[in-house]
Symmetry: C2
Subunit: 213 residues, 2 copies
């Protein structure tokens, strides 16, 4: 289980500063869509330069122009880039091929996908499928509690989970052993981000130990 | 009918240079998703500063975090920002409210939407609905010829049409009198962009005259 720190609604300097504080307790660093749209690929480059040994996820939320956007992300230092599960299949497949060619990974954001789209995405080799309750859904309260880890018959599917994950909700999510647990404001807006990150880290460690007993 | 020049896969300097050449023949300027993701809001600011009297469309393709992203676009000088029709309705509604509060407009990209989503979007007051064949669909050849202008019983709905529009396909599209016709490589990749833009401009003018006869 990897803990992915999601950096959103921050300046690049704030993102670097907060990541430095929590670095020992996180595995993946997500350069959020809001940073990419505000600062462009400079945001991805800055985080990769500062943390070259971490897995950098560019949350590009690609929907079209897949090869071009994914190559931008990889050239800027991303190890993983994201595509929307609601995108045309031809774009998702182009993301998969581009990532494969560069030895990188694809995370597919399942937000607002149909069952058919989820099924199609789950058949793509090496994709990470991200079950996601969006910021706007969280803030509107309409999807509180809808966060769940999808189950796939194919055990090869790697799952990520995102959306308002707190110390309270983490332990339930961890029991499903997702490949990635994505945490944003649960760390970045905590009074003590390092303490919050350390708490998640220790809960994840405990869960891994339990799973191996 | 407004002609919207779509600027994609270009540096900011190239985008400024090409727009200067075609400025008299276009109405709206779209800062494409690829420019936003590569250069951030600097791309929107640069185009607005250079062409303050044109309508600037930020093709943000918002999918979540709607208020934050739309306020970024409007603060950078956009007059219109885009949201994906496949986004959760709560996000689309947040885009509509944010635009209204700023006296700006929303274009909803209908790419890969369900019939139900199109219906919901067509009920949103003042939205511009964009019928869109994507770059990846064009390049794969899977959707050649699928470009169409949706018809809505409510005549208040404003329509935009995008995707591989050429001088050959323009005249058929123009007969539907869309509010916006979006042209990218048909101008930017023409041997003589100014001549291509002038041709579209004169075809649009002719169509308007025919419509008033």
């Amino acid at each position: 289980m990897n803990i992915q720190l999601a950096l959103d609604r921050l300046s690049i300097e704030e993102a670097l500063s907060i990541t430095k504080k929590v670095e020992p307790y996180i595995d993946w660093i997500e350069v959020g869509t809001s940073l990419i749209k505000e600062f462009g690929m400079e945001s991805v480059r800055s985080l990769k330069e500062a943390f070259p040994h971490k897995t950098i996820v560019a949350d590009s939320k690609t929907f079209d122009n897949a090869v071009y956007e994914f190559e931008l992300c990889f050239a800027a230092g991303a190890d993983v880039a994201t595509v929307l599960g609601t995108a045309p299949l031809v774009s998702i497949e182009a993301c998969m091929e581009t990532a494969k060619r560069h030895g990188k990974q694809v995370m597919i954001d399942l937000l607002n996908t149909s069952e058919e789209q989820v099924k199609m995405c789950s058949q793509l080799e090496d994709a990470i499928l991200c079950s996601h309750v969006s910021k706007d859904q969280q803030e509107s309260g309409e999807d509180q509690g809808r966060l769940h880890v999808p189950s796939f018959s194919d055990q090869q599917v790697k799952i990520a989970v995102a959306g308002g994950i707190s110390i309270d909700s983490f332990s339930e999510i961890a029991t499903y052993s997702p490949h990635v647990v994505i945490i944003g404001s649960g760390i970045t807006k905590a009074e003590d981000p390092a303490l919050a990150a350390k708490t998640f880290y220790e809960m994840a460690k405990q869960q891994k130990e339990n799973a191996h007993e």
